[in-house]
Every structure is written in C-alpha cells, then in structure tokens.
C-alpha cells in the first residue's frame, strides 16, 4: 500500500478552496441555494457520513475515482467542514484503470488533501491475472473482490463507505444505507437489519463490518445535476472527446494503453465517445456522444433510453449476478 502525504487542513472557518473548475467548464460561477431535491439528498448524505464518523472506530471511504465517488467525497468534505475528512480514502487499483483516472486520483489527493490508501492484489499481479485472458468474472473476483477484502482486512476497518445507488441495479434497490457484513464480508439480503428513521444501528462485533451507502437515494441524473450545481471536478472521460476505440460485440472499448489486445481484424478508430461509468478500461464500454460539457451530458441523459450499467460487462453474465457478487463481498 502507498500512502501519499496528507496535506494540512485548510484554515478553520474560512471559505473552502474553490477547486479548479470542472473540465467541462460547466455551470455558472455563482452557486445558488440548492432547493428541493438536491438539498434534501445532500443533507441526507452528510447526515449519514457524520453518523459513521461518530459511531465507528476506524471507517474508510472507498474511492473509485468515478462520478459517484466524487460526489461522496464532496459530501464528506461538507460533513466535517471546517475540519478535514477524518478518515482515509481507499482505492482498489486493479492496474487496469484508465490512465486518466489514476492521474486524476493523485491530483485530487494533493489538491483536496485527503489521506489516500491504494491497494492492489499483489497475488493477482504475480499470477498475471488480466481481463483479456481470464474472463470478466474471474478477473473481477481476484482483482476487485479479493483485493477489496485484503485491503479492508489489512486496514482493520469497521465501516466502509461506497458510492452505490439504489437505482443502479435491482439488488441494490433492496440494500440498507447501513448494510451489515459478517466476518467474511458477506451480505445476507434476507436478514437485513430494519433501518428506521435516521437512527442508524452501526453496532458490530469484532471482525464484522458495515458498508455504508450515503448516495442510496440518488439517481444517476441527480448525481449529474449535483455535480453541475456544485462544480465538482470529474474525470474528463465522462465528457465526449475523440478517443481511440474498437467496436467488439456491440461494445465500444477504448484503447487506453499498449496492453490492449486486439482481436483479428480490429483497428482502433477515433470516435467522439464518453463513459457513463468508469472502471477497468478493457471492461468498460463507451457511448458515442457529442456531449463535451456537463450540461450536454445532462441533456443527453434526459433523452437516454439505456441504463448506465449496460456498459459494464460484469452485469451481463446472467440475471442476479450482482446479487451473487455482493453476497461474496463485492461492493
């Protein structure tokens, strides 16, 4: 694990450092009050994040570098302002992430000043596990699920925040905000703790933990509206740009580095694409788009007829596959 140095918290009580503007250059310069839905969702998320900080000995925030993680991190900064975010951010690096994600991650850690923990499954690397030779399901198990368990065990974390939303995928629609995991990191969907009002029960025995989802009630569109309203910086891959892609089985894959394996007859071609979710580049499908700004993305979304996880190869194995992965400890 590597631990970049943690920068000093900003001076208490002063206005926050306004981060560089979104790559999209979207949204007006002045932030108006967030009325209605986004304000309610923000307040709910901040409340949940504070509750975890208060109830748990050693929480960690999963940081996937994606748009949801960016929103979650933003909420965490709000939750403890003018203090620093009081827990580390954990990135499980499969070594196959888009290069832009990694540079974005390291820059965010420097600029915002959070404690970043990066973990890679060294056994998986030694065994040369990769998404081309081993199939999405085995690769995901070793480099993501196993890696995550290793990192959580190594850190001794009793709570882990994730940016999952209930609208993403059917099995997530049933998950609690505070989601109990046994000592094997397993989720038991038939035996979830009732979750009432905002009185969250975070009590666990040694070895057990809670996964916490502060964005449970957000939709994909809420996330984008919020990113625009709050001028949250996101990885530029979310915005359309000409990128080298190949089309394989109807999916557009980006040729992000020299490790990409071309199949017979494949030639990268430049197309204007963007990504709705970000993950390992050989497993993440792009969509053709001209939306080079946040406003453009939102406008496209509002016309969208495909759900966002469609671009993820992992979900298509078969119906119920995400639920099975979650039972095994996948985030």
């Amino acid at each position: 694990m590597t631990r970049p140095t943690r920068s000093d918290p900003q001076a208490p009580g002063s206005r926050p450092h306004q981060g560089t503007h979104t790559s999209a250059g979207a949204a007006a310069a002045s932030r108006g009050p967030r009325e209605g839905r986004l304000q309610q969702l923000e307040d709910e998320g901040v409340h949940i994040i504070r509750e975890v900080a208060a109830q748990f000995r050693n929480p960690v925030m999963l940081y996937s570098i994606g748009k949801d993680s960016s929103v979650m991190l933003h909420l965490a900064r709000k939750a403890f302002w003018p203090g620093p975010v009081p827990f580390p951010l954990l990135h499980v690096d499969t070594t196959w992430k888009f290069r832009e994600m990694i540079s974005f991650r390291d820059r965010m850690a420097r600029e915002i000043g959070f404690d970043l923990v990066v973990h890679t499954n060294a056994d998986g690397v030694a065994a040369r596990i990769n998404p081309f030779d081993h199939g999405s399901s085995h690769y995901t198990d070793v480099m993501k699920t196993q890696a995550l368990k290793q990192a959580l065990a190594a850190g001794g974390y009793d709570a882990a925040f994730g940016g999952a939303r209930r609208d993403e995928e059917p099995s997530r629609a049933k998950e609690r905000v505070f989601s109990f995991r046994d000592r094997h990191h397993r989720w038991d969907p038939k035996n979830q703790r009732p979750e009432l009002w905002n009185h969250y029960n975070g009590r666990v025995a040694a070895g057990e933990s809670i996964r916490v989802f502060p964005l449970s009630n957000w939709t994909e569109l809420d996330v984008w509206h919020y990113i625009a309203a709050e001028q949250i910086e996101v990885v530029p891959l979310y915005l359309a740009a000409p990128r080298p892609v190949v089309e394989r089985d109807g999916t557009l894959l980006m040729v992000d580095d020299e490790r990409f394996r071309f199949e017979a007859g494949e030639q990268p071609e430049m197309r204007s694409v963007r990504f709705r979710t970000l993950g390992c580049y050989p497993l993440t499908g792009a969509v053709e788009s001209q939306a080079a700004t946040l406003d453009g993305v939102i406008a496209e979304m509002e016309r969208a007829t495909r759900s966002e996880r469609e671009g993820r190869v992992i979900d298509h194995d078969r119906s119920g596959s995400m639920e099975e992965k979650k039972r095994e400890g996948y985030f």
């Binding site: 208490p12 009580g13 309610q40 509750e51 003018p82 629609a173 009185h199 939709t219 495909r306």
Partner: protein, 642 residues
C-alpha cells in the same frame, strides 16, 4: 421515451406502498414506471425475457419483476424486503419504498414507513380489506404518514364494477376511522391492464376522479413531515448533536441536522440535558456561514459561550424545551424472531443518544381484527404493542406526533446487535410511586440498636423470602407452613401475604399491572422495615413482572432477598383454583389475569424453583429452610449465636 422534468428544483416525495401479498403492489409499481415512460429499453427487454421464463402473469409481461429483484423473490413470486425505486415526472420526483406484503416481513414494511410522506394502500377488489391491509395501514398511521391513497386494484377481476368499488371504499373509510387515520382517497385501478394508473383506460367510464399518478403528482403535502426522515416543520427548534468538529484549538463546532423549526444565528438556545443556555454564534457550512437553517438542513454551529456539548446532546429552543425523563410510554413494532423479554436489558438508540433500558411493562397489544388494544401475554414478531420503557439515564424526547426524530427510538438486542424494535414515544410515563422522591427536608431516623445486637437477641439474620408464582401455585400454603416451621425453630417472622395486603395496606389498588407493581412496592417497603428490625419476612405475591421483582430486590437489598419460584404446571394451578378465578378470566370477567390474559414473567434466575405439583408442602419448606441455613440466616437446628 424520455426522462422528463427532472431538473434540480423538483420536489421530492417519498411514497410507501402497502397491502397484502398478492394485492399486486409490485405489479402496480411496475405499471407506474412502465406507463410513465421511466424504463430504459435494456431493463424492459430483460423483463420481457424473464417474464417468459419465471413470470407469474401468464401471457402478460410480468411488471412485478421490475420491483421484485432478489433471486429468492423472483423464484417465489413475493416481495421479501423493501425495494426503493425512483421515478420523476414533470411535476415531482418520487422515491417509492415498495414494502413486502407477507406478514412475516412486516418489520421491513415499517422500515419503509419510517421515512415516507404518503402511503399508497393497495386493496384487492376481490378480497377487500384484510387483516394485513389493516396492519399496514395501522403501521403507516402510527409512523406518522399523514396522507394516504387507497388503490383498489384488480378491478378487471370484478368486471370494473362500480358497486364493488364503492363498497370497498366504504370499508377503507371505516378502517381509517377506526385507526384514527386521515381519510384516504380511493382510486379504482387495474395494475395488470393499466386502467386508472397513469391513463384512465377504457373500462372505468363511471369513475371521474384522478388517476393514481395524477393524484400523487398533485397531492398537497404542505402538512407532511419535512425533509423525509428528519421530522416535522413545527416551530420548536431542535438540533440533535451528531459530533463535535474540532480541527484545532481555534475552532469548536457542533454538527447535526436541524430536525424541527428554524435555527438562526444569534438565537438564544438551551443545551439538553445540561440545561445550560448560550447563543448561536455562527452557522458554519462548506458553502459559507448561514443566517438561518431550516428543518432538515445539516449544519455546524458555534456558540458564544464555551460550554460542554457532545454527541447525544440536543440544542433546543429554550421557550419550547423537549421533555426529559427515564420513563416513557411508547408504541412499539416488535421486529425480532425472539419475543420481547420484559425486564431484560436492551439498548435504546435515538440518533446520538444511546443508553441501556428495560421494557418495564406491556400495557397492551393492538388486535388488528378488532382494531383495539388487548392485554398481551407476550410481544411477538410483528406485534404492535404499547409499552413502558425505563432508561438508565435521562432521555431527551418529544412526543412522536410532534417530532419524528426526537419522538422515536430503536431498541437493539445487545448480544447480537440486532435492531429488534421501532418505538414511537407517546408521552412521559406518569412516575409510579417507585420513582417518587421523598421531600428534601425528610431525614431517616436511625435506631441505636445495631444489626449485630438484634441478631444476637433473635438468633437470626434478617431476610425476605419472596414466594412468587401464578394463582394456585401454592404461595399462601407454603408461606403458612414456612412460618410455622420457623416459629417452631424459635425464629421470629412476619408474614406478608398479597391477599392480606389487599385487605388493608393496599385496599385502594386494583389488578392492573400498574397497581400490581404498586402492591409489590408496598410489600417490599414493609419487608424492608421488618428486616431492619431483625425479623424474617415471608412474602407471598403473584408479582408477575420480572422488572418489578427486580426493583423489590433492589429496595430490600439483594444480600437479604431470596426469590422462590413456585412452578407447577398451569393445569395444576387451575385445578386448585376453587374460587373460579381462572374461569372468570377465561370468560373475560377478570381482565389482565396473569397466566390467562396477562403475562407472568417466569424468573430466569430464581434462588429456588419448586414444582409444587411434584413436591409436597413439607419438602418445599425443607428446601427453603435448607437454603436459609446455607445462607447463614438461621442456624442449623439451633438458634444462631451472633
């Protein structure tokens, strides 16, 4: 198709759907999503594909598959847990909590209800209002959902008959009245075919009211609890403190969510439970300081005075302080497979307030057929009960009808950490005499005769023997024989029989659990006096509540208290009952009779357990005498020399 009108300013409404299994809740939700064009093509295609394989809708597309997503649910065709679904129209954004219909998952339904603004109650047009409809409606009402819609579903199966709809609407109205709920708006629908859900359809020509979606989009929610789970937008400011923000010595702020009223910079406030007052100096947020923060807003505040404030404290409007106390009455939804154990320790959690507590009394259970409170012998999974909860430190609270956050709490079973109950506070329980604090000027008059002197004179050390058990267990018989035996041995005793107490000291008391508790208290006070004089007390009382017996033990002194549980089978007790009390209780002439219509908490750790159906009186008395000898209260055979 398009996701329309989902701009950031859109109002957010949290819906709860409830009703019996097979009323078609999941299908209705699927229909709402489908007909309001909320479905992405790929998900719809997946549902079409699965309908063919595992659908339960015959040749129709099984829209329930959109909501019932867990594998076990698809296999069984039922909803196990609350699924949260999201959709928006040009008028509103909605979060639907789709609650399970099966009775064994009522606890999950309560989870969905606790944060909902509006309930959609499904009623099957064929079956009409069922117990489960009443159960769900009752929980929805108890949980403070002020608005309800009754969707009378499966109109297709009754030929879209107006008369059938009218009679169910009347049933629903009667149920709401009996439960004290707001009058629901009734709408006829067929979730399977779509009539009345988003579009009027061709089959309900006689109906001129709004479609379901139309109603949901326009329902007036001004009186709803603000900010979802946060509470009611009343005038009494409440800010429960979640944690202290202290990045360095220059800044010390208190973070929390305003759960009622409006917080303003400069306001004088009071901090509970310390009672200290101060003023709000700043309302600090990431986006800059605020002049005021409305209900639901998360804030950090600083105060003008440096006073000690921590997690669990509540910052309040000093003109309208909350209540505080160690004894509250609450309505409880019990959520554990294991029954509630009266007198057992649970953890109470309300936001940052966490404390140990015991349920000291079960006043009754809601009978969902009769819709009235009935005496409860036990509180089981999915029961709705009225209870008294005693906490070990003071709880800061409001009635639930005033504040959903400070008016509620959960109970946690401490060994498993499971959440076992959802509780809504009705009021502070009137302090029983147990709690009464004697006047401050009173002073206990001490005797000049020491305990040792009394023991030397009497040849015994004082002790209270409590004989507890059901009517007919043999309490008075054993008490009488024990008194005789000790007398023969030269010991000095005072017999305190429950019946005798009621003929004199307690003649003003009845047989409610509260009065029974008071009778035990008076007996225990007498036993303490008797013991203080060096005498042995033999008390014979039903004393059905474990918590009350525990208090008697504390009052008298655990070191001189012996609990003897007389435990013959219930049939034996009944056969010995020549006064016919059990039969009267069976007929309902005597209410709250332990063993019949009220609970008797069997002692978990009695000093002696005697089955008087197998042991004769002499054996029982010998067992008690042996115990007293072993404890050094009386000598073996001879008088005890100090």
């Amino acid at each position: 198709m398009a996701l329309e009108g989902t701009g950031p300013q859109r109002d957010l409404l949290r819906l709860l759907t409830c009703g019996s299994v097979d009323d078609g809740k999941s299908t209705l939700i699927g229909r709402l999503l489908h007909d309001s064009h909320q479905l992405h093509d790929d998900r719809l295609a997946a549902v079409h594909k699965e309908s063919a394989v595992s659908g339960h809708a015959g040749r129709h597309v099984d829209l329930a598959l959109l909501a019932d997503s867990l594998m076990a649910e698809r296999e069984q065709g039922i909803t196990i847990d609350v699924a949260y679904l999201y959709f928006s129209t040009s008028e509103r954004s909605f979060i639907i909590a789709d609650a399970p219909g099966h009775e064994q998952y009522t606890r999950n339904m309560a989870t969905g209800a606790s944060t909902a603004d509006l309930a959609v109650i499904l009623v099957d047009a064929v079956r009409g209002v069922t117990t489960q409809t009443r159960r769900h409606s009752s929980i929805a009402g108890l949980m403070g959902i002020s608005a309800a819609v009754a969707a009378v579903n499966k109109m297709d199966l009754v030929g879209y008959d107006e008369g059938r709809f009218r009679s169910i609407a009347a049933e629903v109205s009667a149920m709401a009245g009996a439960l004290g709920l707001a009058e629901p708006v009734c709408i006829p629908v067929s979730a399977l075919h779509g009539d009345g859900v988003v579009e009027p359809g061709a089959n309900l020509g006689w109906y001129d009211g709004p479609c379901l979606l139309d109603h949901l989009e326009h329902a007036d929610m001004d009186s709803r609890p603000a900010a979802g789970a946060s509470g009611f937008a009343g005038g009494r400011m409440r800010l429960p403190v979640q944690l202290v923000i202290r990045p360095d010595h220059r800044f010390r702020g208190f973070a929390g969510t305003v759960c009622e009223g409006t917080l303003r910079a400069g306001d004088r406030v009071r901090v509970e439970p310390s009672g200290r007052t101060t003023a709000i100096e700043r309302i600090v947020t990431f986006d800059g300081d605020l002049e005021e923060a409305p209900t639901g807003r998360t804030v950090v505040v600083t105060t003008t005075e440096e006073i000690d404030i921590g997690r669990g404290d509540v910052i309040v409007d000093p003109a309208h302080p909350p209540q505080r106390g160690r004894l509250v009455t609450a309505t409880m939804v019990w959520m554990s497979e294991a029954d509630l154990v009266v007198g057992r320790e649970y953890l109470l959690a309300q936001g940052g307030q966490t404390m140990r507590c015991r349920v000291s009394e079960v006043m009754g259970r809601l009978d969902l057929d009769a819709l009235e409170s009935v005496p409860a012998a036990a509180v089981r999974l999915n029961d709705i009960a009225t209870v008294t909860v005693r906490t070990d430190t003071e709880l800061i609270f409001d009635p639930y009808t005033q504040n959903r956050t400070t008016g509620s709490f959960i109970l946690i079973e401490p060994s498993s950490n499971a959440t076992v109950a959802a509780c809504m506070i009705e009021a502070a329980a009137p302090a029983a005499a147990w709690e009464a604090v004697p006047g401050a000027t009173l002073e206990r008059q001490r005797s000049s005769i020491s305990g040792a002197e009394r023991a030397a004179r009497l040849g015994q050390r004082p002790v209270t023997v409590l004989l507890t058990g059901l009517t007919g267990a043999g309490k008075s018989t054993i008490a009488s024989a024990l008194e005789r035996e000790l007398f023969e041995r030269g010991r000095t005793t005072v017999r305190l029989d429950g019946e005798n107490m009621r003929l004199g000291v307690s003649r003003d008391l009845g047989f409610s659990s509260r009065d029974r508790s008071e009778n035990v208290r008076r007996t225990a006070e007498l036993a303490r006096l008797v013991n203080d004089q060096g005498l042995i007390a033999v008390a014979a009382l039903v004393a059905p509540s474990a918590a009350v017996r525990e208090r008697a033990r504390e009052l008298i002194g655990a070191e001189r208290f012996v609990e003897v549980f007389l435990d013959p089978p219930l049939e034996v007790c009944r056969s010995r009952d020549h006064a016919g009390l059990y039969e009267a209780a069976d007929r309902g002439e005597i209410r709250q009779f332990p063993g019949v219509s009220a609970p008797y908490d069997k002692p978990a750790d009695a000093d002696l357990v005697l089955d008087t159906s197998r042991l004769d009186v002499g054996s029982c008395v010998r067992a008690i005498v042996t115990w007293l000898e072993a404890g050094g209260f009386i000598g073996a055979g001879e008088g005890l020399e100090a």
